[in-house]
């Protein structure tokens, strides 16, 4: 598929009443759809999203076989709210970096491993409001285009550019992916059968690396992009938060290195300096090299963390 052709065909054009249309297609075709809400301290927003998915779906008939939550280390009542709404809580044992919380990439891995659905929608629970009409487009687009394995959302109009730094880097490394308006968008849908064949970055900001992997495995045919309207976050845009952008770039570079498109003798990692104060007051510094955590392919192996080494 040529880039121009892709842009014309694979920029989803929303149809009227997408949410209802999704329910009807699910009824007709008997497709199993799942939705996963990655959450961390999202008690103020999670209840609303679960209520809408279970009881407030436009037209009255919810298309979701599985409505699930992946907790990424909440300290508030997020899990209590998930239980009160009878949401399935996807649990796992993995910790990517010892002492750190599980990260967003994990949510996708758990959903693929545990849900048994053909298509899974990833909708961040930290959004103050989710326009399910528009989000339905992510799933509808995959149902419409059988070769696509990932539908990635974008907030802005096609004429605008992503405000995130990851896009220029992605354009430089993978020319075709310059067509993707918002490669770091955390709202996406995946076709599980396709995604199981590739490696997933178990980190926050895993999305550009996912697109790169999909492009390597399936070409442009594997990707579709869908307008999802403006995203309103309960506590600020998460992609601008400390270290998300950094990890996102690291994940992308590591994905590129993994395909020998970029040559370096060792894996990507970063030095993580920590200060220690001894009993006598002396200050010492210990640095840890954290290697990039890869997960999967899911069907082949474990999701346990790669080790860190100290220097």
């Amino acid at each position: 598929m040529q880039p121009e052709e892709w842009f014309e065909e694979r920029c989803w054009k929303p149809i009227p009443e997408q949410a209802k249309a999704l329910s009807e297609i699910v009824k007709e075709r008997g497709v199993r759809l799942g939705v996963v809400l990655p959450c961390r301290d999202d008690a103020s927003t999670l209840g609303k999203h679960l209520l809408a998915l279970k009881h407030g779906w436009p037209g009255g008939s919810s298309p979701w076989c599985e409505i699930s939550v992946v907790d990424l280390g909440s300290l508030d009542s997020t899990l209590e709210i998930a239980r009160s709404q009878d949401a399935r809580i996807l649990q796992g044992e993995e910790r990517i970096i010892p002492g750190e919380l599980p990260l967003e990439g994990i949510a996708l891995v758990r959903a693929i491993e545990q849900l048994g659905c053909e298509i899974v929608l990833v909708a961040p629970a930290g959004l103050r409001r989710i326009d399910w009409e528009r989000f339905s487009g992510l799933v509808l687009s995959l149902l419409e285009h059988s070769q696509a394995v990932v539908a990635i959302g974008y907030e802005s109009e096609p004429s605008n550019l992503s405000s995130l730094a990851i896009r220029p880097l992605l354009c430089a490394l993978e020319e075709n992916l310059s067509l993707v308006i918002d490669p770091a968008c955390p709202a996406l849908a995946i076709r599980c059968a396709g995604i199981k064949q590739i490696k997933l970055a178990g980190t926050m900001g895993y999305e550009p690396a996912l697109l790169h992997e999909v492009h390597q495995a399936f070409g442009l045919e594997g990707i579709i992009q869908v307008p999802i309207g403006k995203l309103f976050w309960s506590e600020g845009e998460r992609r601008f938060q400390e270290d998300v952008s950094f990890r996102s770039i690291l994940a992308l570079l590591e994905a590129v290195r993994g395909h020998q498109a970029y040559h370096t003798k060792d894996e990507f990692g970063h030095l993580f300096p920590t200060m220690k104060v001894a009993a006598d007051g002396a200050i010492s510094r210990k640095s840890t090299l954290q290697l990039f955590p890869w997960l999967g392919p899911v069907e082949q192996g474990s999701t346990t963390a790669r080790s860190s080494r100290s220097s």
Partner: protein
């Protein structure tokens, strides 16, 4: 209209009740969806569109009229004029508010969480339930969501439906989110006025002998405060907003005072309105260069149904049957206009709510069943004609 005992003898009533109570979560979900569409008075179009979709799902067809009201019709086979069920489309906050509702296991919180999205969601679900489990003795029912119910809206939505509505409907149940147990059978007579005082202005020190617009407006407040009669029937004067002045050292040349006059008694209300006009004229009499304009911004008649009216009596018994302690009362909303046009109307509250018209408005969702039960029962019993009438109709 039939009694609650007669309504309870219909199997359809119990099926409808069971269906409605099983859809509690759907009602809450729809209330949240509606509440998150900003709908300040005068800007109800987006919420109207969403509600039209809900009502279309419920009844098969719904439409938006020229005023912006959403209308749905459930045809019946019973005798007599139709029943009207209303709820307001607008919420009591200013344009620019972006309501976000927080959903917790026991409550909904946020701008307009209860007013009036919850009543709309209940109305749509009742429409859906009665369409599925209606009885052949039911008369036509009109479900109408109205615009302009708050503040400056001056009930323009419901007003636009007359005289058609008085020819079509004989009685009305008006649903409101807050105030479970309230049964408002009386319309509080209300006059909303805006007094504009204009004076020559000038420097505070050099021109201190000139009249001050702000002082005149305050003087007007002082005079009007004493106008409402003490005791019963109750009346009041409420100065609600005063805007005046520009600089520390300048005499305000313009003051705008917004106020309300309210009374349970129409003749008292009319007397107070006349006095308000006289005092506005007196304020600037013998003061060269000064003007005072009094403009009506809203009006509702003082009228209502006596407690022994069959509609009030029937609904009071129904609220008791639903396990709700009833408080007879007065309010000024859509029912006021219906009552003025001769359509018997009551207003009932559906839930327990605190922090109304603030960002922390909270609807208690722990037990919404009594509120749903009373609403359905009131609509059901008032849509039915007694059996002998139906036999005639057949």
């Amino acid at each position: 209209m039939i009694s609650i005992e007669q309504a309870a003898a219909h199997p359809a009533f119990w099926k409808a009740l069971e269906d409605l109570e099983s859809k509690r979560q759907v009602v809450i979900a729809n209330a949240v969806r509606l509440a998150e569409v900003a709908s300040p008075t005068g800007f109800e179009a987006d919420r109207a569109t969403m509600f039209k979709t809900l009502l279309t799902d419920a009844l098969g067809e719904a439409r938006i009229d020229e005023a912006g009201n959403v209308l749905g019709h459930l045809p019946g086979k019973g005798k007599g004029k139709a029943l009207l069920v209303t709820a307001a489309l607008d919420s009591p906050y200013s344009p620019g508010v972006e309501p976000v509702i927080e959903v917790r296991p026991d409550r909904l919180t946020g701008w307009g969480a209860c007013t009036n999205a919850y009543a709309l969601a209940v109305m749509a679900q009742i429409a859906s339930t009665l369409r599925a489990h209606g009885h052949e003795g039911m008369c036509d029912i009109w479900f109408i969501a109205t615009v302009g119910s708050e503040m400056a809206g001056d009930l323009r939505g419901i007003c636009s439906l007359f005289p058609w509505l008085s020819e079509t409907c004989s009685h009305a149940i008006c649903l409101q989110g807050p105030g479970i147990g309230r049964l408002d059978h009386w319309s509080v007579g209300t006059y909303r006025g805006e007094l504009t005082v204009l004076t020559p202005g000038g420097h505070a020190w050099r021109d201190s002998a000139r009249p001050n617009a702000l002082v005149l407006a305050m003087q007007y407040c002082g005079t009007m405060k004493a106008v409402p009669p003490q005791g019963l029937p109750r009346g009041m004067f409420n100065p609600s907003k005063l805007e005046a002045g520009d600089a520390w050292n300048a005499l305000p040349s313009r003051a705008v005072l917004r106020f309300e006059l309210r009374s349970d008694d129409e003749s008292d209300l009319q007397r107070m309105i006349l006095r308000a006009q006289e005092e506005a004229d007196a304020l600037v009499a013998h003061r060269p260069g000064c003007l005072a304009f009094l403009e009506q911004k809203g009006f509702r008649h003082a009228t209502g149904l006596y407690p022994d009216h069959p509609l009030v009596e029937g609904c009071r018994k129904t609220l008791g049957w639903a396990g709700i302690k009833t408080r007879l009362g007065a309010s000024s909303a859509d029912a006021s206009v219906c009552l003025h046009w001769g359509v018997a109307a009551v207003t009932i509250g559906l839930g327990s709510c605190v922090g109304i018209a603030t960002s922390q408005e909270t609807l208690d969702t722990r037990d919404l069943r009594p509120g749903l039960r009373q609403a359905l029962a009131c609509v059901f019993q008032n849509s039915m004609t007694p059996a002998e009438d139906n036999a005639d109709a057949a």
